[in-house]
Structure formats: structure tokens, C-alpha cells
Amino acid sequence: MTFKEALESGKFVVTAEIGPPKGTDISETIHHMELLKGKVDAVNVTDNQSAVMRVNSLSICKIALDHGLEPILQMTCRDRNRIALQSDLLGANVLGIHNVLCMTGDHVSAGDHKGAKPVYDIESVQLLKIVDALNNGRDMMGNELKGATNFFQGAVVTPEANPVEPQLIKFEKKVKAGARFFQTQAIYDIEKFKEFMGFARRFPVKVLAGFVVLKSAGMANFLNKFVPGIKVPQELIDELKAAGKEKALDTGLNITARHIRQLKEEKICDGVHIMAIGMEDKVPIIMERAGLL
């Protein structure tokens, strides 16, 4: 079953994330793929995440495909103009990549090439419209294509943005532009997420809740302070603190598993997206504890 079929069938889907390496040694990346194979429904491959230059998303998507994983091509608008984006989309499709996640992309000032010229010729809503056009056999200018693409296109949303209203308006625009599924920024407060889902459920799209495992109380505080759109509630921070240094990571895994289990049991959303950020080996553990394996 493909990722799209899984979502459409009503299965509670799980996606994970692969961050391409900085350099040509892909042995660790392949090791992570082996860990995730047969367990998750698809893997996102990030696109120069945090504006740090790495192997491109497209190549690692192809390698994932060759290793039996279904890739989701993350595409940001930071580094390519509309010609390059469309050309890469066509290229991805002919390589057998059928899922794409359209994003704006972190600003170059966050990365390791701060003097780079940021592109943003188009942005996420417009990119979704382009994917829709390509799926209908035309480029964004209306020129006919010899062979249409068949992408299943998604987008991102930050349910805990403050203020949230402009973010929800953009969510609506993304739906109108053709987004079929959404993956969210990491969430930690299920009650608040339910509120967001109350809004999102008014639209014919699938939503995967984002997860980043908390390794310690310190990490939680860091996320609260420095990562936009992430709010870790105090009781979780207290829980991690109470667990002590030795047990903190294990507690973090339990928290994630507990939340995922609740989302699934209460049918709050359609699946989850686990961003392991270097702890890919923990993804199967989380899935097991959440009752998904």
C-alpha cells in the first residue's frame, strides 16, 4: 500500500524523517533507512534543512526508493527559482518519486552560507498550485507537458503559532491550492492540538501530527525559548525533571508514545510524523510503545 493509499484507506499512518548527510558518505543514511524499512509508511527527506548545505533531497529520495522506502520529497523555495523547482519536480516524478511536501524553507541567515542570496521567487502556496498544474499536464505558465506528473502533494502547518489566525488563513489557502495532506510542526499539548483539529477537520485533507522526542528538561526549555511555534507544557518538563538524568530520554520516548497512542485511539488525526533528528534508531521503539508495531 502506498502512502497515499494508506491515508485514503483510513489507516493511522506513520512517517519519519531522513536528513541527508553533509558530504558523500551515505552509509549512516542507509543504516537509518534499514531501521525504518517495513515499519513506517513513508519517509520525508529534508531539503537543506536549517539552510545548511547538504546532499539534495531528490538524490536521497531516490536512494530511499531503491532501499524499499517510500519517500516524501521536501521542497523549499529558498534555493531555486520557478524554473528549477518545476524542473526538479518533473525529474523527481520520472525517478518514481510521487510524494512532495511544499514548504517555504528556513531563511539563509539560519544556515552555514549566510551570504547566499535567498531566492523565494515563489512560495509554498504558489508551489502547491504549480504541483497541481503539473499533475494536470501543464506547467505554471499553462504550457502543455508531454506527460503529466502524478504527485500526492502536502504542506506544513504550525498549530501552535502565536498569533495562530494568520497561520490558519494560510492553511486554508494551502488547501485551496491543492494540498492533500499536512504534516505539523512538533506538538506537545494534545488538548490544544484537538482545538486545531476541530478547525482542520472542516477541510478535506489528511493531517499528520508532528513529533520531536524530548531528550531532557533542558531540551524542552530550549525548544520553548528558541524554536518558533513549539510550546512544551510545564507538566511535561516536570515529568522529565522527575525522571532524572539517566531516565530522561526514556521518559521522553514514553511521552511521545503516549501522545501517539492517544491520537490514534481517539481518532484525533490521520497519523503522525516523527522527526527523530539523529535518533532514527528510536523510531521503532516509539512505534512499539505506541502500539503501532
Binding site: R78, R82, M103, T104, D106, H107, S109, A110, P118, Y120, D121, I122, E123, S124, V125, Q126, K129, M140, V156, V157, T158, A161, N162, P163, E165, P166, Q167, I169, K170, E172, K173, K176, A177, Q185, P228, G229
Partner: protein
Amino acid sequence: MIITKQKDRDKLMECIKKHDKFFLIGCSECATLCGTGSPEALDEMEEFLKGQGKTVTGKLVPKTGCQTLGTKIELKKDKEACDAADAIIVMSCGAGTQSATEIFPDKPVYPANDSLFLGNMTRFQMFDERCSLCGECVIGMTAGICPITNCPKGLLNGPCGGMSDGNCEVSPDIPCAWVRIYERQKRLDNIEEMKETIEAKDWSKGQKPGRLYAKKQKEETKG
């Protein structure tokens, strides 16, 4: 107006090191308001160059440095001083500097300033960029606030995921342009407009180098 700041003096000296005698040109408009091309700034530059063992043959603050023809006429009275100089130092924006390039085909011309942006003066000598001269203004659809300039990514359809408590991901000193647009649309009771997708921009409208013959265009519009 065009916002300029003085170049680092070491960098300027590096550029002009092979010359000894200079004529200085300022500008009474933007560069004077910025304090980079005013009569005082030219005096100060003259003192500095003298201190470096150089000679200043003369100086002029033309009315509008970027008005090439007018500046050329104003410079007529300084012909001798100009002839005596081996190079021209211009203390205005890059446009004013290139007026001098055109006026002096046989003399090297050096900018003393860096041109930064088209700015609004919010208080005395405090400048903020509000417009990037993109060639086709969209702020009729964005509550009169330019997202191309005020958002570091120039996004046209709402805030990115990096917005934090109303501020931009690039710096907490930048209010997120899309939160500002949202607040203003709300105030104007116009939130519905924010739900409309703005199409990909036609950047060819701002193709470089820009050129406009306003008189001819006016005649054409009249038909």
C-alpha cells in the same frame, strides 16, 4: 529617498591610493539628509584626505546629484578645479556617482558611500526600508504594507512557520510583516481579502536596468 552610509575609510583609501588630487561631489537631497553628502560631510572628507597627504582641488554639493544634466551645468563653474584633479570622489548614492562617471569620461570616479535602500525617514536620520521598487506594486492587496520588502523572504501569501510571537524568524527586531498585514486587515474589517491567493509575481516588471520615458508614456496613456 535613497539611504546611504559612508564607506569604511580604510576601504576608501585602498580604492583611491594611486591618486593624489581629488574633486569632491556631494548631493543636497538624500545624501544631505543622511549626512553623507552634505556640505559638512564634504568638509570633513577634505580634512581627512589632507590628513592622509592628499590634495582636494575643489568641491561641490549639486542640487540633485542624480540629475545628470543639471549637475553637469552646475559643475561648469568648477571646471578648473575639476581639470586639476586626477580623480573624482562622489559622496552621494550610486546613481549620483554614475552621473559623475557620465560627466567625466576621462577621469576615474570613486564612491565614498554605500547605497543601502529606498527608505522612509522615521525620525531625524533614522531610516527604514519600506519599498524595494519591484516594478509592480501589490500592496493594494496586502493592507498597504509591502511584504516583498518587510518580510525577509518576500512571501506573498501569509506568514511562514518561523514567525514567533509576532516577530520574524530572521530577527526578533523585525516584526513579522504578515502579522502586521493581518492586524491591519482585521482593523480594516477586511480579513476575507487575506484569504485570497496572490499569484506568483512577474519579476520581469522589475527587470534591470529600468528605463522610463515618463513624457512619452503619458502621451501614450492619453492615446
